[in-house]
C-alpha cells in the first residue's frame, strides 16, 4: 500500500520535473567553461616545469568542443541528451574548479609547490606511471576480492548457523561478543607475525573486517524473521533444510546486504592499512611509496583511483542487491 503510494509520488515528481523547461544553453555554457579552461591553461605563463600542460589543455578543449554540438542538438539526443542536460551544471562546476586549481597552483603558485601539484601533474602520473598504478590497483582488487569473498561467505554461513541452531548460538555468541567489536586493524601485528606471507595476513584481516558485520547482520536477519513464516512452512511439510534455505535465508537477505555494505566499507580501511604496513604492492603501498619519494602528484592520482575503485564496488553491490531483492521494490528505499 505505502509502496504504491511512494511509486505514485515518485512518478508525479518525475512528471513535474519533466515539465520544467530545462534551459537549452546549459550544456553550451558548460562547454564554454571547458574551452575557457583550455585557453587559460595555454595562455598564462607557468611558474614551474610541467611537461603535460599542453596535453591537459588539449583534453579540456576536446571536452569543450564536444559539448557544444551536443548542446545544440539538445532534446534530439533522447535519454543521453536528458542525462547530459541534468549533469551539465556539474560539468561546468568541475571545469570551474579545475580553473581555480590551475590558477592557484601552476599559474600563480599560491599554494606551496611540491605538496599541491597542478592538474597537469596528476594527468602526467596517469599518462606516464600507469603501469605501476594499474598494477597496484589490480593487486589491491585481487587482495580485496579474496578477503571479502572469504569473509562474506564465512560470515553468512556462520550467521545463518547461529540464527538457526541453538548449539552454535550458545558457543559462538560469547566469542562474537568478546572478539567482534575489536577493530580488524588491531590484529595487524599478530597477523603479520602468525601468517607465513604478508599476502595471507592481509587476506585474513580483510576477511575479518568483512566477516563480523556480515555474521551479526545475517544472524539478526534470521532471528528477526517472522516466526509465522516457519509455522506456515512446517505445516506444509517443510524439512529442516527447507526451513533454513527457503525460509530463513530469503527472509534474512535484506539484513545480509546491510552487513555486506558495512563489511565492504570496513574492508577498504583494513586493505589500505595492511598495504601501507606490510604488503609490497597495491594502492596503499603506492600511497606510502609516493609519500616516501615526495611524489605528491602520484599520491593524489592514487587517491583518485582508490575513490573510483571503492565507489564502483559499492555501486556494484547496490546493483546486485537490486537484482536479488527485486521483490522489495516499492517496499524499502535505501
Amino acid at each position: 500500500m505505502s509502496g504504491s503510494i511512494t511509486a505514485v509520488t515518485a512518478a508525479r515528481v518525475a512528471a513535474a520535473r519533466a515539465h520544467v523547461p530545462v534551459p537549452p544553453w546549459r550544456v553550451l555554457a558548460a562547454g564554454t567553461v571547458w574551452l575557457a579552461l583550455a585557453g587559460l591553461t595555454l595562455a598564462l605563463p607557468e611558474t614551474g616545469d610541467f611537461p603535460r600542460t599542453a596535453a591537459f589543455a588539449h583534453g579540456a578543449a576536446v571536452i569543450g568542443l564536444g559539448l557544444l554540438p551536443l548542446g545544440l542538438l539538445g532534446a534530439r539526443l533522447g535519454g543521453f541528451g536528458a542525462r547530459l542536460q541534468h549533469w551539465s551544471p556539474w560539468l561546468a562546476a568541475l571545469a570551474i574548479a579545475l580553473v581555480a586549481w590551475e590558477v592557484v597552483t601552476a599559474k600563480f603558485c599560491l599554494l606551496p609547490m611540491p605538496f599541491f601539484p597542478p592538474p597537469q601533474a596528476i594527468l602526467e602520473v596517469f599518462l606516464d606511471d600507469w603501469p605501476r598504478l594499474g598494477g597496484s590497483t589490480l593487486n589491491s582488487l585481487i587482495l580485496l576480492a579474496g578477503g571479502y569473498a572469504i569473509g562474506a561467505g564465512f560470515g553468512f554461513v556462520l550467521g545463518v548457523a547461529i540464527g538457526t541452531s541453538k548449539a552454535v548460538g550458545y558457543w559462538a555468541h560469547p566469542v562474537l561478543r568478546f572478539v567482534g567489536p575489536l577493530p580488524a586493524t588491531a590484529w595487524l601485528p599478530l597477523a603479520f607475525f602468525v601468517f607465513p606471507t604478508s599476502w595471507s595476513a592481509s587476506t585474513f584481516l580483510v576477511a575479518l573486517a568483512t566477516g563480523f558485520p556480515v555474521t551479526v547482520l545475517t544472524w539478526s536477519g534470521v532471528a528477526g524473521a517472522n516466526k509465522a513464516y516457519f509455522d506456515v512452512a512446517r505445516t506444509l511439510g517443510a524439512s529442516p533444510s527447507f526451513l533454513v534455505l527457503r525460509v530463513a535465508v530469503p527472509a534474512a537477505l535484506p539484513h545480509v546486504f546491510v552487513g555486506l555494505f558495512m563489511g565492504l566499507g570496513g574492508s577498504f580501511a583494513v586493505l589500505v592499512v595492511a598495504e601501507m604496513l606490510g604488503v609490497k604492492s597495491g594502492l596503499g603501498w603506492y600511497l606510502q611509496w609516493a609519500q616516501g619519494w615526495a611524489a605528491y602528484a602520484n599520491m593524489y592520482a592514487a587517491l583518485i583511483v582508490m575513490a573510483l575503485m571503492c565507489s564502483s564496488l559499492i555501486t556494484l553491490l547496490f546493483r546486485l542487491r537490486d537484482r536479488l531483492l527485486a521483490w522489495q521494490k516499492g517496499l524499502v528505499q535505501w
Binding site: S4, R234, T235, L236, G237, F242, R246, P250
Partner: protein, 263 residues
Amino acid sequence: MVAATLQRHTDQARGASLHAEAVSHAFDIRGAPLPVLDQVSVTVAPGGFVALLGPSGCGKSTLLRLVAGLEPPDQGVITVGGQLVEGPDPSRLLVFQDPTLYPWRTVRGNVALGLEAQGVGRADRAARIDRALGLVGLSAFADAYPHQLSGGMAQRAALARALVNEPRLLLLDEPLGKLDALTRLAMQAEILRLWQEKRFTAVLVTHDVEEALILAERVIVLSDRPAAIRAELPVEAPYPRHRDDPDLVRLRRTILEILGQVT
C-alpha cells in the same frame, strides 16, 4: 446417477474426522503457567464444518495450533482421521489471521510452497498451482508480489496456498478478522463454496457470531481463558444461509446470552 453417487461418496471421504479428547494446555509466562485450554473435547465428523466461538484471547487459536501439530498439548489426545497428531502434516493445514505470504515470492511462488516442500515435481506443480489459483480467482495475479495485493486478495492467496495441497482438514484461525466488512461477506461465501466443492473438514475459529452461524454446521461456544466448552449448538438451516433467517436470529441471541452479552 451411479457415477454421481460414487463421486459424492469419494468426495465426502476426502474430509478427515477430528477428535480432541480432554485437551488442556498452558503457556509459560516468565516461569508461571498460564492455563489457556481446560479439558476441551471436540469431535468433528469427516467433511463437517464446526465453528469455535469465544472472546478474543481465550485460547481458540491455541487449540488450532495443537490440532495442526505445531505444539504438543500438555494433556489430552488429539487424533485426525484416526491417527494421533504428533507433528505438522500437510493434510492438516492452518490459515492464519494474517495471510503470512512470503514477501520475496510471487503469488505463484507462495502457492507452490507446500508442493516444493513435499518434493512434488515441477511439471505436476504448475498444473496444480494454476487450478488452485483459478479456484480462488487469482489467476490474473499469479506473478504479483504480496505487497501489491489487497487484504482480501492476500487472504485468497493464503487459501490457495493451503488448498493446493488438498488438505483433509482445514483449520481457519480468524481468517477474515482483518478484512473490511464487505470483503468479509464476499470471503465468507468463498469459503463456503470451497468447502462445498472440496468437502474437506473445516474448523473455523472466530469471535464473530454471525460468521459462525452463516458458515458452520455446529457452533461450539467457549468460555473466557482458560477456554472450556460452554455450549454446543447445531445450526440446521440449509445453505446458502441468510443473516435475517429467524432461526439464525434466535440462535444468535442464544449464543450472545451464553457469552454474557445480552441480559
